[in-house]
Subunit: 217 residues, 2 copies
Amino acid sequence: MSIFDEELKGLKEKILRMGLLVESAIRDSIKSLVERDSELAKEVIKRDHDINALDVEIDEECIRLIALRQPKAGDLRFITTAMKITTDLERMGDLAEDISERAIELNEEPPLKPYIDIPRMADIAQGMLRDVLDALIKGNSKLATDVIKRDDEVDRLNLQVFNELLFFMIQDPTNVSRATRITYISKYLERIADHATNIAEMVIYMVEGKIVRHVTI
Amino acid sequence: MSIFDEELKGLKEKILRMGLLVESAIRDSIKSLVERDSELAKEVIKRDHDINALDVEIDEECIRLIALRQPKAGDLRFITTAMKITTDLERMGDLAEDISERAIELNEEPPLKPYIDIPRMADIAQGMLRDVLDALIKGNSKLATDVIKRDDEVDRLNLQVFNELLFFMIQDPTNVSRATRITYISKYLERIADHATNIAEMVIYMVEGKIVRHVTI
């Protein structure tokens, strides 16, 4: 294996590590909501620094590889795609942080209702993230296409959560502040799934040179 | 001027052209809402293809410049930043498209209330976009920092719009569907301003090598 191959392998491992950090941030932010565990939420917020640090580290490594190794077509395209993808990962981390902040606020008030759709949305979004990074590393556009399809279900659940909570708000105005916060969390999850979809589109473009933006969505 | 300098100048012009297209998409989407002009909204949706086409074109040009000209430190950093920034611009264009879709829906029903804060939000967001691209081209981090500061005002207006519309919904449930669509538009504008902020952070990083994410916001 050449030095460059080793470096490329190291880059891929770093991206996967960043993905794992984001995935556990999403999972723990929802856990802190469902189990009313504000300490866990605070931990997620603290851990976001590690995600940001990795983002910068990967960025620098990509620039270094481009400048020093002058990679050819396919490798260059992988590296520039990686630089864009980490931006999406970093923003997914931010959204997990936002969820944690809302969870802390919600945990200070009595529960409004049990959470059913929100953990489901989070499960789907985490699966999308896992699979889209797998698709990136393997250069598998079929897997990426499958990720894009799952975004519809998250959108549908987000709308369902919104409608249900609107009903709570209209029924009793004292529910408004809590219900609003829960709709925000649902919206954050929908945006996390959107980022996974964006990554999937970039992977398909990287592999096939085909633009799927605004066609499949 | 060397060929590479010419090419770099051409790249900068393309980024500015893409920025202008996004800016007029935002302006016209809000105009289609305020003046209840669904034909204009449909035009914005159609014109989004031009924005996407430019995004791909700039991306390809960046890859080509990196591969062929093997740019050095500062230029390489500008080019990789440009690739990331066009992703944000493209998503701002998508959000203008989303605004237009909600405008078309709203134009089919009687007006709920005059729009005051939403055009103000759009004005601020457009100014942020204009200035952040200026900051990118000039490598001016002070201008970029100023853009980040203006994001707070957009966030404040978004919250104000949301609270006001919540009041309309609670008052009379027949307002719910229209009020919800308007809160969506306000949220889209808030996200457009977020993208401008993200670009500003990348410009500062490009110029100063300093991370401002999660510090100033």
